[in-house]
Structures are given as C-alpha cells and as structure tokens.
Amino acid sequence: MPRRRIYDPLTELLAAVLLVVLVLVVDRWQFSLAVLVLVVVPAVLLSGRARQIGLAITLVAGPLLISSLLLHGLFYPEGRTVLADLGVARVTAEGLTFAVRMGLRMAVFTGVLLTAAMTLDLPDLLASMTHRGWNRKLVFIVGSAVGLIPHVALRGHRITRAQQARGLVVGRSPLSRIRALLTVMTPLVIGLLVDASERNRMLEARGFSSSVARTSYLPDTDSHRQRLARRGMVVAVAVFSAAWLVVAP
C-alpha cells in the first residue's frame, strides 16, 4: 500500500537535501551511520514500496561502492600502514578507511535522495511549484521532460524494430554500432522535432507566453505552517553548520 502523503513535495525534498548537507557538515562516520540506520532504513521500510526503493538504491550505489573499495583499497599511495603488498597494488589501512568512510557517505547520499525522489509524486511537485509561483518555463521543462522519457524510449524501441524490418543488422564492430545508432536516432529526432514544432504552436495558442501568474488544476498541498517549517529548517541547519565548522576540531 502506498504511503499516505502528509507533507508538500517541496517540504520533503528540502528535508532530504538538508539532511545530506548535515551529513557532509558533520562528516563523522558515526553520524552517517546513524542517519543511514535511523532515518533511511525506516523511511524505506515505511514507504510502502520498500522492495523497489531498496533495489534501486542497490543498483545505483552498489557498483560505485564496490569499485570505490577496489580503487582505494588497492591503490592508495598516501597509505603508510601496509596490510598486504601485491606488487603493483598495496592494501593499506588508510586506503580501506578512506573507502569505507566515502562509501558510507555515498550510501547516505543515495539513500536519502533516492528515497525522497521515489516517494515523490511528480504532478504534485509540479502543482506545488506552480502554486508557489515558480517560473512556468521551468515547470514546463521539468514536467515535459519527465513525461517524454518513456515516450522517447518507446519510440526508439519501435523505430529499432522498423529498421530491423528494413534490413538493419547490428554487427559487432563499433562502426556498425554507430551506424545502427544513427539509423535509429535520425527518425527519432526528426519525429520529436516535428512534434515539438507543433507543440510550439500549441503553447502559443494556449497562452503559454501570457505573463499573469499561472494557476494549477491540482489542489495546493502546501500550508502556511509548512512554509514556516521550511524556513525554520533552513535557518537551523545553516546556524548549526556554521557553528559546527567553526567549533568542531
């Protein structure tokens, strides 16, 4: 069951971003670990789609963590405490520590932002941006780009089939692949541009260039309290960060 939406998408996104900032500011592995265990894991579990989010985090962060561990674990010229000498590569304690601390930071970074993004309702976010009076061009670009992605992928897939029907066989050589890419890309781009020029006229006809404040068909999920809370969070994190950076060792 999907989680019930309580806060405005802007509030949720801001909270996620501030949490990432805090992790960067504090820069202690204990704190990063605490955020990971006490915030990210419960949030994922309570999201109602724990499996998908967990999978996405693993897919996005996993390869990076492994390759980071290999890189710093084996090649860390600054390291002094050599645990194993493999000739070209040296396993050092400093390198491993660095890899683990970086890995923790990346895990928190991905975990927090991906959980926030994947529980986000994009139409609500767009509506919220409109209600807050954000630039309508920005709202259009974001909304339309996200809307187009599946369309572009599907169209690309269909064109690939159509070109196969005309005799396209993808060989192994890079040149043959680039050619294949071009035979698919060209009709794809032409088709999208034709649509775009029609959309250009449509936007003009629908008064997109108008300068009055745009309204939204969807209700506003924001409230005065949340606006106050957002400002409060920003101020609190800013003050804390400044204090920490000055006072902390």
Binding site: T130, H157, A165, I190, S210
Partner: protein, 537 residues
C-alpha cells in the same frame, strides 16, 4: 463569423496554393474541406487558425475577418503578426497527429484540458468547472484521471479536442481528425463534434475524402491543386464528379480491376501452422498493441524511477485500463504466390501481431512460420528483410535517409545490390509511382501521402516476394488508393504474395482474394477462407 479570403499562399520552395479561395464559417455550420494530397487543405486550416506562416518563410496575401475585424496580409515582412492566444480563444485548431498537441507535462486528462486556462491564470474553482463542462460534452468524464499519454487513439483525439475547445471558441478547425481511427473511435469523435456544433460552434473538418454522411446542412469545399473546384452541400458534392479531381467518398472501393484468379498449383509462400504467441508482460515494445490506432495504449516502462514518480504516493490515479493487444492462438494460414489476403478484425484482435510474425519481428511461441520457403527460427530479423517487405502503419518510423532516392535505394543496397544499380532501380520505381519529381527531396518534407508512397516504393525496390502491409490505406487520398490497389495486383501478378491488415472493408473487398477475420488472437471459425464478397470464384 470568420471569413478567409486568400489571394495566394506561397511556400518557401515556390509552391503556390489557395489562389482566390474564399471560405466563410458561421455559428453551428459544418464545413468539410476535401482535397487530395497537396491540394492545400492543411494550409487552409492553418490560415483559419491564424497561422499565416510569416515566420516560416512563406508568404500569404489576403484577408481574414474574425468577428467583424479584418486583418490584411500583403506577403511582406511588415505584415501584422497574429496574437495566437487571443485568436485561439475564438478559433480553436486541432492539427494532424495528436502527440504534438499534448503538453506532455500533464499526468491526467483533466490537467491537460486545463492547460490553456491555467496559463491565463484562471482560478482553481473556475478551472475545475470549465474542465468538468467540456469533459461532459465530449464524453470524457470517466477519463479525467487517466494519463493522456496512455489513451487509445479515439480517446486521445477527444482529449486534444477538449483542450482546444475548453475556452469555448466560436469555430473549431480540425485537420484530418479521423486519420488512423477505427470505425468505433471515429464515431465517438464524430458524436463529440456534433454535440459541439449543436451548441453553436462552427466546425471545419479537413480530410482527403468526403464522408459518406455528415450532419444536416454540411457543406463541402473541394480543393484541387490549391484551387477551389466545388463549394456546396454534401449531397451535391457526391454527385458532382469530384473523382476527376482526386476526391473520393469514404467507403467507396478503389477503382481497380478485380483480382486475377490464383493458380491453385502455385507455390505456397507463407505458411503459419498452429502459431501461438503471447506478448511479454513487461517489455517496453513487447506489449505493443496489435493495431496502430491503439498502439498508444502500450504500458510504458523505462528505468526504475520513471514510472514510480508518476504513480507513487497517491491513490488519486487508478491504474489505467489500457490493455495490450491479445497474442495469437492456434493460427493457421497459408498464402500462395499470386494471392492477396486481407486480415480484418477489431482493434487489439492481433492483426499486427500476426503480420509481424511474417518478418520475424515476433517469433512464435508454438507452431511454425515459413516464409518464401524459409522457416523463421532464430535468424536476425534484419536478414529476413529481403524475403518479407513490411509496411508499418506509422511510416515515420521507417524513413531515415536524406533524400527520397537514397531512402528507396537503401533496401536493395541492404540486400546486396551494387550502389549504382540500387540507385538506378530506386529511380525507376519512383518514376513508376509518380514520385519522380521528388527524388532529391527530403522524405520528411513531403506530405503524408507521398511519405507513405515512399515507404511503399522501398518495398517495391527491395523486391521481396512477400508483402506484409499494416493499414496501408489509412489517410490516403483517392488517387493513391487506386495506385496502391494497382501495385498490389501487379505484385501478385508477378508471383508475389500480399497479406494486409486493414479496417478498410471496401479496399479489402476490392483487392483481396479472401479475407481472414481475427478475433482475440484466433482466426474466427467458419470464415477462415471466406471468398471475397461480391466476386465469383
């Protein structure tokens, strides 16, 4: 209410259209603008919509009078520029091809309809009232929460119309609103238009063919090569012999000789034996629906995040009811050399799926498919292109070369013909199809009908023995329909075989030796080998 008086309209390539053409549309009128490809229909529709093309390098001379106010154009750079937003509140325009008219940023039909008024800052309550009213008028009430990018053809067309008329314009201009729709969807759109007309909106519908029936009092403006050839009531237009101008009547058979009898000893070119096939449940293209009109119903899946962002979080949007086309069950079919077989059936019955088994785009789960003596097993699809020539319903997915000549020469080249020979062959085919003058043009600068013909020319030039054609007549004008019928007959006469999936009953009856009916992926029992109606064996 709106009066267009065109002295001339010249495109940047020198083509001049709409010489001394006038059209006036009043409240509640229904005007059909009919003409073959290149007759100036779309140009006329755009002029009515206030798109005078000054920014595209074309020049318009004439006047447009809207609600008593006349705007004059002299074909010079200092001509007035129309305020599209003010104009469209009075004259709404729905162009060809619905995709370009979606904002792509609305996750629901309701938002899409509200897009225009929202841009003008109409308050939320008022927005909801406007959308509700229009949705009720166009029968979209149940679809308001659906994703506009996942609607069927007819639903999408009505959504686009609703978004255009939400500001209650006095006139609605539509360019080929029925193209690619099946009978049922076309009827829905026609009903919606009729409701708007009864409320006093003047309607202008452009198309290549005249409809058989239209609302009481419908007028026809017939165009040929940019000039007016007829202006009067529909009934008179039917009798006015407009065929000599390439303007036919929808549902009329193409002018062609009855198909030559099939030699019963001719070799069998296509066999399908007990073919069963199920679409993969979750691949992007695997669930392509079988009929192009509803091909948009495909459930779209891209990287992990995309879908999620859309249906995460809220129960506001129920899962859409769009279904994938059915697969195939126990399909047997055999087609001899010299034979033309039509496949008919409702949307989603598996017509395109069947067709795509003939060129290896789909591989049968069970049973066997043999084409031109070659069993289709695991060979790459591309290697079958010389055996089976496939015409997609959406031509624009197929063309990619810079000139028409190179486009048509691609097939023979891929089949191993030398470059010079391929170009010579392509030129010959183009001349035969009446496209000789367009050899050096870019395929996408041709009109829809010519582009379609280029795709057909590609098949002819490649020289495949089996042709699989998906809705080959959709959107064609009368002369091209007849030309296509002739091409099919000639191909059969030269020992080829043709399988065509179509909604066009008149065309199928006129050119095919027999019709196979598909229903939910099965060949309907009893009439698997129905002889073509109206012809003696």
């Amino acid at each position: 209410m709106i009066t267009l008086e065109s002295a001339s309209f010249a495109y940047d390539d020198g083509t001049t259209l709409l010489t001394d053409v006038a059209l006036a549309v009043g409240p509640g009128e229904y005007v059909i603008v009919a003409g073959a490809s290149g007759s100036g229909k779309t140009t006329l529709a755009r002029l009515l919509a206030g798109q005078t093309g000054g920014d595209a390098g074309s020049s318009f001379r004439g006047t447009i009078t809207l609600d008593g106010e006349t705007v004059r154009f002299d074909g010079v750079p200092t001509d007035p520029r129309i305020d599209a937003s003010v104009w469209s509140a009075k004259v709404a325009y729905v162009a060809q091809g619905a995709w370009g008219q979606l904002s792509m940023m609305s996750a629901t039909v309701g938002e899409e309809i509200a897009f225009g008024p929202a841009n003008h800052g109409v308050p939320a309550d008022e927005l909801r009232r406007l959308v509700g009213d229009v949705a009720a008028a166009l029968g979209l009430g149940d679809l308001l929460h659906r994703d506009p990018r996942r609607l069927s053809g007819g639903q999408l067309q009505r959504t686009v119309i609703a978004a255009a008329v939400v500001q209650r314009p006095r006139v609605l201009v539509l360019d080929e609103p029925f193209q690619g729709l099946d009978e049922h969807a076309a009827q829905d759109v026609a009903t919606a238009l009729e409701d708007l007309r009864r409320d006093g909106t003047g309607i202008v519908v452009c198309g290549p063919l005249m409809p058989r029936t239209a609302p009481q009092g419908a007028r026809v403006l017939a165009l040929a090569e940019g000039r007016r050839v007829f202006d009067g009531p529909l009934a008179e237009a039917h009798r006015a012999g407009l065929r000599r101008y390439g303007i036919g009547i929808a549902g009329d058979p193409p002018r062609t000789a009855p198909p030559a009898p099939v030699d019963p000893t001719a070799p069998v070119l296509v066999t399908m034996e007990g073919v069963g096939f199920r679409h993969a449940p979750d691949s992007a293209g695997g669930r392509r629906t079988s009929d192009g009109a509803s091909a948009r119903k495909v459930r779209i899946g891209v990287g992990p995040g995309v879908r999620r962002t859309r249906d995460g979080g809220g129960s506001r949007r129920p899962p859409d009811g769009a279904t994938a086309g059915s697969g195939l069950t126990g399909v047997d079919l055999s087609v001899r050399a010299g034979e033309i077989v039509a496949v008919r059936g409702p949307n989603g019955s598996g017509k395109s799926t069947l067709l795509q088994h003939l060129n290896g785009l789909y591989r049968a789960d069970t049973g066997q498919v043999t084409v031109g003596g070659v069993p289709i097993l695991r060979q790459p699809t591309g290697t079958l292109a010389t055996t089976t020539g496939y015409l997609f319903q959406d031509t624009d997915q197929q063309l990619f070369e810079r000139t028409v000549l190179r486009e048509v020469a691609y097939g023979p080249r891929a089949a191993g013909v030398g470059k010079d020979e391929a170009l010579r062959l392509a030129a010959e085919v183009l001349d035969r199809l009446g496209l000789g003058a367009s050899k050096a043009s870019h395929p996408y600068e041709l009109g829809f009908v010519q582009r379609r013909l280029v795709a057909v020319a590609c098949l002819v030039a490649t020289g495949s023995r089996v042709w699989a054609l998906d809705e080959p007549t959709a959107g064609l004008d009368e002369p091209t329909r007849a030309l296509l019928a002739g091409l099919l007959a000639r191909h059969a006469g030269e020992g080829g075989a043709v399988v065509l999936a179509t909604h066009d009953a008149a065309f199928a009856d006129a050119v095919a030796h027999r019709t196979v009916r598909l229903d939910a992926g099965r060949i309907r029992a009893g009439d698997a080998d129905l002889p073509r109606s109206g012809s003696s064996p």
